[in-house]
């Protein structure tokens, strides 16, 4: 069934189809309508979940940790300041090995105070042990939410589904709503091996000494690395059943490309248009959409760009002093490869500034112009 819906509602409907049992969230622009729609779905009886309207995002994550430990499927959503506020608890959730799914609407982090789209908030949480998947469209958002629960419950790590502020969250697109019965087959009920249960009393998220900490982190690291294959598998299954698969990355018109643009999130749609236009003009330009960001799908990326001369990484984010974080991750992943492209990093679209076709053309041309990538990131779309 097709419906026109904004990205935030796509999240809500994904959560409803996944039959989340406990939802806890605190409002922050531009996440608010996710939770508003969930409240309506609960009130209409379409979603049988306990909704806890907490008093801060930190409590929201603590609540879902408690609920997940009690053995139920849980969900929360937030953005920028709220995500940063729950930072401590993100570690706690992954360290406890709880399969929580969270939607993060990418928004700039203050100061200065700005509510528009940018990816720094989710990327600055890349060390917290959460799997991160970046979505390009509202359809992808709904589908990824469902996939996220399956991935999380398989590897027992939490999953963050990321969507752009306003461009996706508040923009209506046609979305095909999967059939609930089929979703149930794809995603059966959550049955954890261990849960808070008076019949089997234990302590969870134990206090522990240097004698044991490293081993638990080792296990998490292993799970995180193994989750790459799981993400691919789940996406493959989803594609078979629902006819829509997205892969961990997507290569668009990369055959014989001199320059490949690498993007993540809604800007990928604009980049497709830019690539088509440039190809018209005879430029051999391709597009690599990065979907799974953590764990970083190095092999899938290399398959596309190993022999490409130049990769222009578009970062709608900034790690102060370092530069764009996607570029950083790519460089780090490829540093030991004997054959690898030169990586150019472009900072654009911070604080919700529009990334236009013009800017994308500019990025491609600059990449062609410069034989070697400069050490520092190149800022495009600035004033003056």
């Amino acid at each position: 069934m097709k419906k026109i819906m904004v990205g935030n509602h796509a999240v809500s409907w994904g959560v409803m189809l996944s039959r989340a049992e406990v939802v806890s969230a605190y409002p922050i622009t531009p996440q608010t309508s996710i939770v508003e729609e969930l409240s309506v779905l609960c009130a209409d009886g379409k979603l049988k979940a306990n909704f806890i309207p907490v008093e801060s995002e930190h409590s929201a994550m603590a609540c879902v940790i408690g609920a997940a430990a009690a053995g139920v499927r849980t969900f929360t959503a937030t953005s920028s300041q709220g995500l940063a506020l729950m930072h401590e608890m993100l570690h706690w959730a992954s360290g406890s090995r709880l399969p929580i799914v969270m939607a993060n609407v990418n928004r700039a982090l203050g100061a200065p105070f700005n509510i528009w789209g940018e990816q720094s908030d989710s990327l600055s949480q890349r060390d917290t042990g959460w799997i991160q998947i970046y979505c390009e469209s509202n359809q992808e958002v709904l589908d990824t939410v469902i996939q996220a629960f399956k991935i999380a419950e398989k590897v027992l790590l939490p999953v963050m589904v990321v969507l752009d502020a306003f461009v996706l969250s508040h923009t209506a697109e046609p979305v095909d709503i999967p059939d609930a019965h089929i979703v149930d087959q794809f995603l059966p009920a959550f049955k954890p091996e261990f849960k808070l249960d008076p019949q089997n009393p234990r302590s969870f998220a134990c206090f522990l000494t240097p004698d044991f900490f490293m081993e638990f982190r080792y296990k998490m690291q292993r799970a995180m690395l193994e989750s790459e294959a799981v993400c691919k598998e789940v996406d493959g299954q989803f594609g078979e059943i629902f006819g829509r698969g997205y892969g961990l990355v997507e290569a668009y018109r990369c055959e014989g490309a001199d320059v490949v643009l690498m993007t993540a999130g809604a800007v990928t749609s604009t980049a497709r248009v830019a690539v088509d236009a440039l190809r018209e003009k005879g430029r051999k330009v391709g597009l690599l959409k990065l979907r799974l960001f953590r764990p970083f799908p190095k092999e899938d990326i290399l398959e596309v760009i190993r022999k490409v001369e130049k990769v222009a990484v578009l970062d709608r984010n900034l790690s102060l002093g370092l530069g764009g974080m996607f570029a950083h991750e790519l460089r780090a992943a490829l540093c030991n490869e004997k054959v690898r492209p030169r990586i150019y990093n472009y900072i654009t679209g911070l604080g919700g500034r529009d990334t236009t076709l013009q800017i994308l053309n500019d990025v491609v041309y600059q990449t062609y112009e410069q034989p070697e990538p400069p050490e520092q990131s190149i800022w495009v779309g600035m004033r003056g």
Binding site: K48, N50, G66, A70, P201
Partner: protein
């Protein structure tokens, strides 16, 4: 009515004479086995013992410092979603995690009237991190961050009044020196739906600089000197005093604890006046 078996093991890591363990022992007896507890960072995070061991016979989850109430709310929602409406969900939190860093989560849970029992075991300072002052530290007390020549200048925050203002169905103070009274109140709390707040006075011989053998005596004197009266508040406005104090002068209570050894006569007199005044206020509320 109470669990006759012990739900707390020996071998835990508490200091000798720890009041918090006596509090837990009788809380568990009153709650019974059908209980899940959330324990944020506090002495009990350590007392319970490290991985792979535990010291209590009910399931518990360790959680971050300020999340006692919110984790408990989440657990309750989760169990409820699973179809289990009987298991009692409790938060077991120190005074730091209740009065200070955790007050937001507690207020949130209380405002929502989430169906949990929130236990604050109060040893009147951040004991787990080494005896630093909290807003539960009484006036003029020595702590490592309020040295004797500049002891705490603010009075103890009145947490019971804050919880009463939330109009939760039940709030009560308890003392480890009166275990029967404590268990009766916890059993009563268990039977009520909504947020319940139990404030347990838990002496810490280590942090209070008193001999470990005097933990119970100090707890008893705290009640009988009216410094920590035992009372209940129902729905935020119906007060009931449980134990009539024997009007012991506060000096007798101070004398047993090194953390008060710097107090001079004038200070003690001032404190006695404050204690008497607060008691009159409480008495008036109870008689309404």
């Amino acid at each position: 009515m109470y669990e006759p078996r012990e739900l707390m093991h020996s071998g835990h890591l508490a200091c000798a004479g720890c009041g918090a363990t006596i509090a837990m022992r009788y809380t568990l007896k009153a709650l019974g086995e059908q209980t899940v507890i959330a324990i944020p960072a506090c002495c009990w995070s350590i007392i319970n013992g490290p991985f792979p061991y535990t010291s209590i016979k009910v399931p518990l989850i360790h959680t971050a410092f300020e999340t006692g109430a919110s984790t408990a709310s989440g657990i309750k929602a989760g169990l409820d979603a699973r179809g289990d409406k009987e298991t009692t969900v409790a938060a077991w939190v120190g005074d730091g995690g209740t009065f200070d860093i955790g007050i937001q989560a507690l207020s949130g849970a209380a405002e929502r009237n989430d169906d949990i029992i929130y236990f604050c075991y109060d040893n009147e300072a951040y004991m787990n991190t080494g005896i630093q002052r909290s807003s539960a530290t009484p006036f003029a007390t020595w702590t490592t961050t309020t040295p004797s020549n500049h002891p705490k200048s603010q009075p103890k925050k009145n947490m019971m009044e804050i919880m009463a203002a939330h109009r939760i169905p039940y709030a009560a103070t308890c003392s480890v020196a009166f275990p029967d009274d404590m268990m009766a109140k916890i059993v009563k709390a268990k039977s009520i739906r909504g947020t319940k707040f139990i404030h347990i006075y838990s002496p810490c011989p280590t942090g209070w600089k008193s001999p470990s053998s005097l933990a119970i005596k100090v707890a008893r004197l705290a009640v009988h000197s009216k410094i920590f009266p035992l009372y209940e508040v129902e729905n935020g406005d119906h007060y009931n005093i449980n134990i009539a104090p024997k009007n012991v002068p506060v000096e007798e209570y101070f004398r047993l604890q090194g953390r008060f050894s710097h107090l001079n006569e004038e200070q003690i007199r001032g404190i006695q006046e404050t204690v008497d005044r607060e008691w009159e206020r409480l008495l008036k509320k109870a008689l309404e």
